[in-house]
Each structure stands twice: as structure tokens, then as C-alpha cells.
Subunit: 222 residues, 2 copies
């Protein structure tokens, strides 16, 4: 029973720090996305295509979360945006404290969009609020159409679903209608987009939507 | 600091129960695999192809672990083997206690091979010994070739790597030699097999190796 108590305390403490992060974001007028998914579903590729698309339109910064390596930060740095790598050293999720520490290395002044790429894990990051405004879950077609039902918490807590790798649909056993229906059954409020980072299909629709969301977000500094 | 202590206690308690599970397996002469991977890498499909291949040669039982749903147990039950579903209800890994409870519903007498399919998660299940003799990590080509470096603990603790979905290699950005080299850099003792559940390629080589391993395992009951 004590373990449950500790676990609740950990989450309460995290929520408190997440609120502080959120206040900081509001203060700077920075809109924040938390991108979550299984390992290898294409989070970093989507980030790359998104940065490419938004270039010149928006001032963006990135926090990369990985269990090990700074490969993803290296990939993102090529786009000339401020990027901080968090290495969790075996930790299975980012938490609000890790993000708070990372924020010490980013000047949020004038940053309109902060994208946090979480550790590849479809379970644990679902419970940890980082202070973000929106959780974006990426599900690739290669993972099959049953994942929303098998890992419901992540799809329930997200506000956006990117169905990625749609270029592979002819080669994999995945019914995309079924995948979307399963996700919407868990969370009818999900905004669903279909993307491919290989063919670029759907990237413009996703980015246009993202830009429209940002227009609705009160930019205190402007 | 108290959280770290609790965490260590949790793992110590788990290791103790895992030892008890292992003793039970030895007593019955049952060889046990713990299959781990990201969500959607093809664990259940590999299990299906393996059961198909071993049919008539070996007496097999299965424990299915999922965050939600009993879809996988339903798929496996079609092969006429004893199967127990563990639903973790949000839990991110199987532990030795859950397996112990599941074993209450399986008669291990005469079972030569027990296959435990873990929750889809490339991070947390790495730390939880279930009492198995061998951890089998499945990495699909669609996840990219960098995953062993980004999620090293799982590849370090496994004794077998199945590189799955090799039929998709022409369509994805994955260098299979690089993937295998990355895995072997983390764990040079890994037994590596290439498989495709769609084309059946490599399934026979994997199953032949598995059968040969079982021959080396002392079957107390025979």
C-alpha cells in the first residue's frame, strides 16, 4: 500500500511542477506540444518535417527526451532552432522536473512554439503532465490498428493523433479506418491527421492546423 | 531519496518472486521465454508463427500480458494451447508476482515451453525478471536502426534478438546491418535472427534454434 501512496505523491508533485511550467509558458506566450508514441513510430521525423514547414513563419524551440543518446537533438539542431537534449538514463518518461531543468537552458522570450519530444513509450508518459497545452500521440500504420484499444490512456489524454507512415499502408496489415475508429472510441475529441514523412503527404494539413491553433493562443508578448 | 529506496525494494521483492517462479519452472522442466518489444513490432505474430511451427513437436503454454484487452489471448487460443491473459490495467510491465498469479491457472505438468508475451514497452520490462530463462527482444525494421542505442537496457538483458518485418526493408529507412551491429555493440552475446511473419522468412531458422536450445535444457520429467 505504501508504494501506491508514494506513487500518488510522485504524481502530485509532478502536477505541481507542471503547473509552474505552464505558468512560465503562459507568461512567455509559448504554446507547448508534448509528442508521445511507441519507439520508432516517427516522432523525430515528424518534428523535422514540421520544423521545415514552419520555418520562417514561427519561432520554435525543441526539447528532446531520450533514454540514451543525443541523436535526436543532433537531427533537430540542423534546422537552426534552439534544442536541449534530456537523457533520462533508463527513465521511461519525461517528467515536469526534467522539463523545468531543461527550460533553464532555453530562452523562451519570443519563442511561439515549444515542441517536447518524449521518450518512446506508449504507456508511462501518459500519466506525466509536463505543463504542455497539447499532447500529440503518433501511431504508425506499421504498429497495427488495435493499439488505441490496447494502450488507451495515451489516446485518452492526447488531443491530437497523427497516423504516421501512411505510405506503408499497401504493405502492412493495418486498416486505417479501424485504427482511427478505435482511437475515436477511446477519445471522441481527438483531432486526427494522416501523415507520411517519406512522401510528405498530410504534413501541410497538420502544420496548417497547428498554425491556426497558435493564432488562437494569446501571445502575451505580441 | 525515499523513492529510490522503495524502487530498490520493489525490484528486490520482484527478484525474490522471480527466483521462486524459476524454481517452479525447473521443477516441471519447463523452458521459459519472455518476449519483449515496442508496441506493434510483431510479438503476437511471431508467437503465432512459432506455435504453428512447433505444433506437434512440443507442448507449449502461453501467458499474454497487455495493458488492456484480451485480443492477444484470443489470437493465441486458436492454436489450441493453454493460454492465460494478464491485463495490467495501465501497468507498464509484467512482474514476477503477476506471472506467479497467472501460473495458478496453468498446469505446467508436461509443458516443455512457456512463452510469456510482455506488455509492449521497450523500457520498463527490461528491469523486471519474471523467472524466465531467456528474454527475446523483437525489433521491427520499421522502427529504424538506432533503437538498440536509444533503448540499451532491453538489448543488454536479452539473449535473443529477432529483427522482424524484414519484408518491409525495401520501403523503410532502416539499414539492417547497422541495426544488428548496434545491437551487438550493446550486447555481443545476442543470438540474432531475421524474421518476417508475412512471408514466413526466417521463422524456421528461429524455431529450429529454439528447439535445439530446448534439447539442451534438462527435462526433469522425461
Amino acid at each position: 500500500m505504501s508504494i501506491v501512496t508514494i506513487e500518488r505523491k510522485v504524481l502530485e508533485k509532478n502536477d505541481e511542477l507542471a503547473s509552474r511550467n505552464r505558468e512560465l509558458f503562459q507568461h512567455h506566450g509559448t504554446f507547448v506540444l508534448n509528442i508521445v508514441s511507441s519507439p520508432g513510430s516517427g516522432k523525430t521525423s515528424i518534428l523535422e518535417r514540421t520544423l521545415e514547414h514552419l520555418k520562417g513563419n514561427l519561432r520554435v524551440a525543441v526539447i528532446e527526451g531520450d533514454v540514451q543518446t543525443d541523436f535526436d537533438a543532433q537531427r533537430v539542431a540542423k534546422f537552426g532552432v534552439p534544442v536541449v537534449q534530456i537523457v533520462t538514463n533508463g527513465g521511461c518518461h519525461l517528467d515536469a522536473k526534467l522539463v523545468q531543468d531543461a527550460l533553464g537552458n532555453i530562452d523562451l522570450n519570443g519563442i511561439q512554439l515549444l515542441i517536447i519530444e518524449n521518450v518512446g513509450n506508449l504507456v508511462c508518459p501518459a500519466n506525466y503532465d509536463l505543463g504542455e497545452h497539447s499532447k500529440v500521440v503518433v501511431a504508425s500504420t506499421t504498429e497495427g490498428d488495435d493499439k488505441p484499444l490496447k494502450y488507451p490512456a495515451m489516446f485518452r489524454n492526447a488531443s491530437v493523433l497523427l497516423v504516421n507512415k501512411i505510405d506503408l499502408l499497401p504493405y502492412v496489415n493495418c486498416n486505417i479506418t479501424e485504427l482511427k475508429n478505435n482511437a475515436l472510441r477511446i477519445n471522441p475529441a481527438l483531432n486526427v491527421f494522416e501523415t507520411s514523412c517519406t512522401t510528405q503527404q498530410g504534413i501541410d494539413v497538420w502544420c496548417t492546423w497547428l498554425e491556426s491553433q497558435l493564432k488562437n493562443y494569446p501571445l502575451i508578448n505580441e
